[in-house]
């Protein structure tokens, strides 16, 4: 199994830092890629492979997104669904959604995603600074 997935941020795609060995996963930055499937496809594959073997482990997922376009929102929802499924199957999943306190749209979006999480634990937090 791969230990980690690291994708550097670009102006239009977020940084992905999946530290599978330490069960700490993070997506941060801006997301409005030209082709959502092309960017998120490999991220989904790596995440699926990790979650398949997570068992009863504890995992933390941080979302620190500044801006995402509407097609990226769909991709993020799919990530949330994967995390919820893993939690339903016995893993302890902590989801942190960090938002810029000056942008209530991103706060609301976080709330909307959080509403759909039952087994995974959802935390809505202001970004530092």
């Amino acid at each position: 199994m791969i230990e980690k997935l690291d994708i550097e941020a670009t102006p239009r795609t977020p940084a992905v830092a999946f530290d599978f060995a330490n069960h700490h996963l993070k997506i941060s930055g801006e997301s409005y890629p030209e082709d959502v499937t092309e960017f998120y496809g490999p991220v989904f594959i790596a995440l699926d492979n990790y979650l398949k073997k997570i068992g009863k482990n504890k995992c933390r997922f941080d979302f620190e997104l500044i801006y995402l376009n509407s097609s990226s929102a769909k991709a993020i929802m799919m990530v949330m669904d994967k995390l919820e499924d893993a939690a339903k199957n016995g893993a302890t999943v902590e989801v942190y959604w960090y938002y810029d306190h000056e942008d209530d749209t991103m706060q609301e979006l976080g709330e909307e995603f959080g509403e759909d999480l039952e087994s995974a634990k959802f935390h809505l937090e202001k970004m530092a600074g």
Binding site: R12, Y67, N69, S71, D103, T105
Partner: protein
């Protein structure tokens, strides 16, 4: 002559408060480049974070609508192997960003098939009448739904625009001929 022609065009835009105009084939690099300039201008204007993000978000959705759906397009008949997919096909549209008093306005226009007008009209009418709570509910519903036939995105673009706008969206269609109509969408922030 040359200078006066271009100056006329510029002053027409200027009197309407337009700061940015792009008219032509829109590609993803155009979106990136104009987007960067827009962010810089908004920063210089000292726009607050919420306004900056909303103007930018609406700009992205409007540009991507043109790139994906404008009915006016040019295609390279036989692209060489390895030629980037996005360059095979380019779609035409016009986008302006300007100010009306204290508000920012982002307008986009492009051709659509007349056959698509009733469907688009109904969708936009519905979105236009909704308050923020209703928009939020519909957005969430659509996020879970399968994309509509013919949609190349998540089918959320118009809702994202309406949610980010501070006033109801405005739109209009102008029939061009038997097949095409010009579609214009305005969002105020």
């Amino acid at each position: 002559m040359l200078a006066s022609q271009l100056m006329d065009l510029r002053s027409t835009l200027h009197t309407q408060g337009v700061i940015f105009t792009y008219s032509g084939y829109v590609t993803e690099p155009v979106l990136s480049g104009v987007g960067e300039a827009l962010k810089q201008k908004l920063a210089i204007d000292d726009a607050d974070t919420k306004t900056l993000r909303s103007v930018f978000a609406i700009f992205v959705e409007q540009m991507q609508n043109i790139i994906r759906y404008s009915a006016e397009k040019t295609e390279t008949p036989l692209p060489p192997t390895g030629y980037p997919k996005a360059l095979r096909e380019m779609r035409y549209g016009i986008l302006t960003i300007g100010k009306e008093g204290e508000d920012y306005v982002v307008c986009a226009g492009n051709l659509v098939q007349r056959a698509d007008v009733p469907r688009l009209h109904a969708r936009l009418d519905r979105i236009k009448e909704m308050n923020k709570e209703e928009l939020k509910a519909l957005y969430k519903e659509q996020l879970r739904a399968e994309p509509e036939k013919g949609s190349k995105g998540a089918g959320l673009g118009f809702m994202e625009i309406a949610r980010r706008a501070s006033k109801p969206i405005e739109f209009d269609f102008n029939d061009l001929d038997d097949d095409y109509a010009f579609f214009a969408l305005k969002a105020t922030i």
